[in-house]
Subunit: 114 residues, 2 copies
């Protein structure tokens, strides 16, 4: 039997961002990240990562991440940090500090309750 | 400045599966996970995780994971293990061994080239 450490896998991306693009109709009781204003944030994120040629950062659009009331929601792996950004400035800070300097942006981190 | 270790975040899920649901038209030069037969595999995965009440496993549908030729593709975090399953038996093995016993299924792991 092999453990992950024994497999000694190379790291495919330094950071893998999972950003929720779920859209539910206005007034839906669960809400959704798109209804919470996620669209311009994720567009800004994708453009910024591309413009800065951060080839070690992968941004993947996703379906529901389960904690709809906390949206907009994105997760960054391998750390497993869940972010709730609200503005494009928040996105800039995550890109510059977390992806650029390796320092998670504590004020934007949330811990969803399972 | 805070490191992730200093933040001491609780783990939201024990395993977070990102499974690619991208569908491109037949004959598209990039191909896609849906064209590679992913649909019944991910449906089986979702049903099995639900049936076994694995509440510490989150399965998130995603857009393109960048390595379309290697589809069907799913990633499991926090390990960052990339799997290329081809049958529902492969899915059963990942659920039983990786999520159940904590042992990644080495024969189904691939390492995409960036």
């Amino acid at each position: 039997m092999s453990s992950v450490a024994e497999l000694d896998l190379p790291v495919v991306f330094k950071y893998h961002v999972i950003a929720c693009f779920t859209k539910r109709p206005p007034g839906h009781p669960r809400g959704s990240c798109m209804e919470s204003g996620a669209q311009p944030l994720w567009e800004h994120l994708q453009k910024k990562v591309e413009a800065q040629r951060l080839t070690d950062v992968c941004v993947t659009a996703s379906g529901c991440l389960s904690f709809c009331r906390a949206g907009p929601l994105m997760v960054v792996y391998p750390e497993g940090v869940w972010y709730h950004p609200e503005t494009v400035d928040d996105i800039d800070e995550i890109v510059d500090r977390h992806f650029g300097a390796g320092e998670p942006v504590e004020r934007l981190i949330i811990v969803p309750k399972v």
